[in-house]
């Protein structure tokens, strides 16, 4: 159907495990991971998916790309901060193979392109999972992955569509776009705002994020900051796929789980609580960089960027 007969997923966190666990049910799937014990466990026990899908598939895992046979598609599913190391690791391997990025924010495609001339598919994913062990992941939110040929690269739309069809056939949800930037920027603006505000206030995505009665209400801040991001997108000629403010209102209105009191703990807030480096450089920091390029002022983004940098600085001193 797709012409893609084998896939290599790089990074087996929650998102990487979800891709690999599903794809392995329809196509030969390899995993490139960092830890030797992790690779051994996957080779021995396979990869199990629970929650919204019930799957248990055999996979081939390795820590060195030289140990893996050629594949038709590579999905880089590490955290944004680990993409540079992953791309360096892949350098010289899998020549000509299409590489798909699924990180939050902007800029990972450029990092990949610095280490090889692979055609690149940009994508953003809204699905989420909980990693229960090295060999088991729970499929939590069964939302879509949006993908399109990277605007600065050489991947074509036919390959992108084939990859999307393969992902859909494996039981996940995906959509291919000729130009994914409108969708990518919608999510970038949304995430740059709510993730950084959540990290600084220690709040998950509670209803206050959409409250705008007073100047000091959190929703007033969320909206003002999103307007900055929208101005940057507009200055770049990008027409957004969805209004980030509406995404925010929808996310806090009922919660994607349908539970009344559900409030999503942002990945950046989880990182702060665990004292791990956050993705601030690829989210809020990306907006600050893009804003400078087109000469649009984004003082609130600069404020939130600086505050999260300050929080991270506290762990290193």
């Amino acid at each position: 159907m797709s012409g893609i007969r084998s896939v290599c997923v790089v990074g087996a966190g929650a998102i990487g495990s979800l891709f690999a666990g599903h794809l392995a049910s329809v196509v030969e799937t390899k995993l490139l991971v960092r830890r030797k014990e992790h690779a051994e466990a996957l080779n021995r026990q396979g990869l199990k998916v629970t929650g919204k899908s019930q799957l248990h598939s055999r996979v081939t895992a390795a820590t060195d790309p030289a140990q893996l046979e050629p594949v038709d598609l590579i999905i880089v599913a590490t955290k944004a901060s680990a993409v540079a190391a992953a791309a360096k690791h892949l350098s010289g391997h899998f020549p000509g193979t299409t590489v798909m990025t699924v990180q939050n924010g902007l800029g990972c495609e450029d990092v990949i392109a610095q280490h090889g001339d692979w055609p690149v598919i940009s994508s953003i994913t809204f699905m989420s999972g909980i990693r229960h062990s090295d060999v088991e992941v729970e499929y939590e939110l069964d939302t879509e992955t949006w993908m399109g040929p990277w605007s600065k690269g050489s991947a074509d739309f036919a390959v992108t569509r084939a990859a999307a069809e393969l992902i859909v056939s494996s039981g996940l949800r995906a959509k291919a776009f000729e130009d994914v930037r409108p969708a990518q920027w919608s999510k970038l603006i949304f995430n740059s705002v709510v993730n950084s505000i959540g990290a600084v206030t220690n709040l998950p995505h509670v209803r206050d994020f959409a409250r705008t009665d007073r100047p000091a209400d959190l929703g007033t801040l969320v909206r003002a900051m999103m307007n900055e991001g929208k101005a940057v997108a507009a200055a770049q000629g990008i027409k957004l796929y969805e209004d980030p403010w509406e995404m925010n209102v929808r996310a806090v209105s009922h919660g994607q789980t349908g539970l009344e009191d559900y409030a999503h703990v942002f990945s950046m807030l989880s990182d702060v609580r665990a004292r791990q480096l956050t993705e601030i450089d690829w989210l809020t920091g990306a907006i600050v960089r893009e804003a400078r390029r087109v000469g649009v002022p984004v003082p609130i983004h600069e404020l939130l960027f600086a505050l999260v940098k300050g929080i991270e600085h506290g762990w290193s001193t």
């Binding site: 000091a216 801040l221 600086a306 940098k309 300050g310 506290g314 762990w315």
Partner: protein, 313 residues
């Protein structure tokens, strides 16, 4: 002469202990903290650190105990100004009441309860070591002047300044004390919340270039509002930031101390005050408004019992 200190926490205790050294002044300390009040009654009030004082002000939790006073010195946290003044209004039927609190907007509240009001700003800081004992961490002056809408007379202001100075708290009386107040306000509003939101002491925060830039941007917004109000600042708050970087590198701003203890902060009187006066004068203050919302959000996370990271504990 009778003086009542309204709110005898760390700052109030500095004033109460110093003034009570003067033989001809009757000093009353009003506070809701039973242990502190009982300790002062039993063994007096002690200061250590930058001052060494042991004196015996009267102390009470019951405003009915307090005789009519010539002067009040309000030193509560700004969010308690109203309840404290409601409780003690009778004490000041004929008195002049001076705020030495953080932020702006306290004098306006005091003026609802007292006939004459003094605008004050104080730099000394301290912390409660144990009931009856306060450590003074920093020295510095206090500036007082008539609160324009409902002023105490300049003669009264001068009396209070002279007596405070005699007691060891150097105090300057001035016709217009807004410059001192806004200098401290802008400094505090630009630096305190940055500490509270990042967990960083002052100097460490200033080491992060992006944060230092943000602090200057907050200072600039505050200066624009002060200028629109016709206030001439005593000194450049940005230079105070650099000075504090050197002399108070590991100082944890009071708002950071509040955040670590998960107590309500004074953000509404600091950043909220700048936002309110900005609106009044048509000066945009988007960053102070953002900071106000962020600190309120952080406070909301404590009410939800969100776990937080170690830095916030």
């Amino acid at each position: 002469m009778k003086v009542c200190i309204v709110g005898c926490g760390a700052i109030g205790s500095l004033f109460a202990a110093h003034l009570a050294r003067l033989k001809d002044i009757e000093v009353w300390a009003y506070d809701l903290d039973a242990r502190h009040v009982d300790a002062i009654r039993a063994g007096g009030l002690r200061l250590s650190g930058k001052s060494t004082v042991h004196s015996h002000p009267h102390a009470t939790r019951n405003p009915a105990d307090i005789p009519p006073c010539d002067f009040g010195i309000v030193a509560t946290k700004s969010m308690h100004t109203r309840s404290a003044m409601e409780a003690t209004a009778a004490v000041f039927r004929n008195g002049a009441v001076c705020s030495v609190q953080n932020g702006v907007g306290n004098e306006e509240v005091i003026a609802e309860f007292a006939p004459r009001v003094i605008r004050g700003t104080t730099f000394p800081a301290g912390h409660l070591v144990e009931p009856g004992h306060v450590e003074q961490d920093t020295g510095g002056k206090t500036w007082i002047g008539p609160f324009e809408p409902k002023p105490a007379s300049m003669a009264e202001v001068e009396v209070l300044a002279r007596r405070l100075t005699e007691s060891g708290m150097e105090t300057l009386a001035m016709e217009d004390s807004r410059g001192a107040q806004w200098t401290k306000l802008i400094f505090n509003a630009a630096t305190n919340p940055v500490g509270a939101l990042t967990g960083l002491p002052h100097g460490v925060a200033c080491d992060v270039p992006a944060l230092r830039t943000v602090i200057s941007a907050l200072v600039a917004e505050g200066k624009a509002v002060a200028a629109a109000l016709g206030i001439k600042l005593d000194s450049d708050p940005d230079e105070l930031v650099d000075y504090a970087h050197k002399v108070a590198y590991l100082h944890k701003a009071s708002m950071l101390q509040d955040a670590l203890a998960r107590r309500p902060t004074e953000v509404a009187a600091l950043n909220g005050g700048i936002v309110a006066f900005g609106r009044e004068t048509g000066v945009p203050t988007p960053l102070h408004q953002a900071i106000w919302a962020l600190v309120e959000g952080l406070e909301a996370s404590w009410k939800r019992n969100e776990p937080g990271s170690e830095t916030r504990k």
